[in-house]
Symmetry: C2
Subunit: 304 residues, 2 copies
């Protein structure tokens, strides 16, 4: 029996809460504690965290193998190197695609190698498990097009944008997939007393966030009453294996968003601590079996 | 620009033919040649192989980096070590699950390490890419049930069994998925002149191959007229991420069977020659990105 991995959850927002649950459910991990800027919590949080060490510095938690970084994406480039430099593997769910993600991976690769530690970068579901599937589909049919359709589910960025319009007290923007990577925005707004729905609709539709999509705006009496953490993805690829066309692949999931994100981070923490060489990795750069508990022989016999 | 990988295709049955096509389509590979027991071919084969070196011993092909083993599954345990011992990485699509697969992996792991070479084992689609997806789904929702539903598509084993019954000239057994891992067998038989469909049906249904499944038998005038290399899979998982139940995942594909098998083997050859440490690996033990051509920076920027 291997020693349990000691995990620190850094940040206690939505993702952090679910990460605490995922660590508790992992047979080979124990929660060292939660790191947050302030140890002061609400009454509800105090109850949730009753038996969990909550500290402002990871050094107060004793030995820690992996830090699951649950703070905002923009904090990751500054936070992750600090943990790596202290000899702690990191996992994040950095969620901006493209250039900045490559830069983060390159920076953490250098810091990780210097300190003999592993950083798993962008280990959520998109980027994350969806990226891994895109890589697999490409290996199975190198030519063709992959479409990633998001939703139905809430878009944080679009919701915040709609909420910022004059006359809007609160807003929720749902992303609805209509196939081949095209999305409709269903925007629900809680209006202020004297606001006009037509004006609000025009303001939302004119915003660059929405201008290029089919956008529909609806007034509701309470945003809180319609909030739901559910989300989904449909990925489709039609491609060519060798010289054979029309190979069809489809992946769908319907999931609780923060629960899946934190579970993938926790599974990636296992790969970081048990299997990977020092450096930084995105999810398609990790063997899926390295994210699973249990011995290799049993896994090969039961899972292959 | 890296040197092109030189690939030998070993065996020229169904899979071997498609493997030749997949190597030709790969931007970073060249076909060293085809290895088969006898260089004598039919007129049609002679045309297909006109510009391809066909030899009986891989030593006649000059430098070879990877051998794609396209012979029967039962030949792999004997064939693969010979290539590894000659300093050539191997990829196979060994397709028996369980104990014997683990034994093959363990044996080739030892031989591979001794000779500093890589063996990728069971690199088809099931076992293979389906196994990789089962591992990924388990990392995303560690508790729950994964069902793998095969088809619609031809089952070789069931077809051969039905063909063996008295009065049957030729047979084709289709596997039809009915969900939660349960399958129906649709069996098409070409009868001999004086055979009775009722007798043939009874004989097929009584065979252990069919006895536990819903089996329907139909007489057709020509098996050759209904043969189709298409196959498919539906995988479903409903599971728990952390403490959150009812996470739903589904994967479907509809594919040409030998084209996909050989494409996955060719993609795995790239991982073997470019990325993996000596030893043996099943597909879930390989990072999907290691199966793709192109530099890491471009892949991370475009695929993640």
């Amino acid at each position: 029996m291997m020693n349990a991995l000691r995990i620190a959850v850094v940040g206690y927002g939505n993702i952090g809460r679910y990460a605490v649950e995922a660590v508790a459910a992992a047979p080979d991990m124990e929660l060292a504690g939660v790191v947050r800027r302030s140890a002061v919590t609400s009454a509800e949080e105090a109850k949730q965290l009753a038996d969990i060490p909550v500290v402002t510095d990871v050094g107060q938690l004793g030995q820690v193998d992996v830090a699951i970084l649950c703070g905002p994406t923009r904090s990751i480039p500054e936070t992750a190197p600090q943990y790596l430099a202290r000899g702690i593997h990191t996992v994040d769910s950095y969620d901006i695609h493209g250039e900045s993600l490559w830069r983060l991976r390159a920076d953490l690769d250098a810091v990780g190698k210097k300190h003999g530690r592993v950083a798993v970068v962008a280990a959520g579901w998109d980027p994350g498990s969806d990226s891994l599937l895109r890589a697999l589909f490409l290996a199975m049919a190198p030519k063709g097009i992959t479409y990633t359709n998001f939703g139905p589910g809430m878009s944080m960025g679009h919701s915040v944008c709609a909420k910022g319009k004059p006359g809007v007290r609160d807003a929720l923007s749902m992303t609805i997939p209509t196939g081949t990577g095209v999305h409709r925005r269903m925007v629900y707004v809680e209006l202020e007393a004297n606001a006009d729905l037509a004006d609000v609709t025009a303001a939302i539709k004119a915003d660059p966030y929405f201008a290029h999509d089919d956008t529909r705006v609806f007034a509701v009496s309470s945003i809180d009453d319609i909030k739901d953490m559910g989300h989904g993805v449909q990925m489709e690829r039609k491609g060519v294996s060798g010289a054979t066309h029309n190979q069809l692949f489809e992946f769908r999931m319907t999931i609780n968003n923060p629960a899946l994100t934190s579970q993938i981070m926790v599974s990636a923490a296992r790969a970081a601590a048990r299997h990977l060489q020092p450096g930084a990795y995105t999810l398609p750069e990790i063997a899926p079996m390295d994210m699973l508990p249990g011995d290799r022989e049993t896994l090969v016999k039961t899972l292959i």
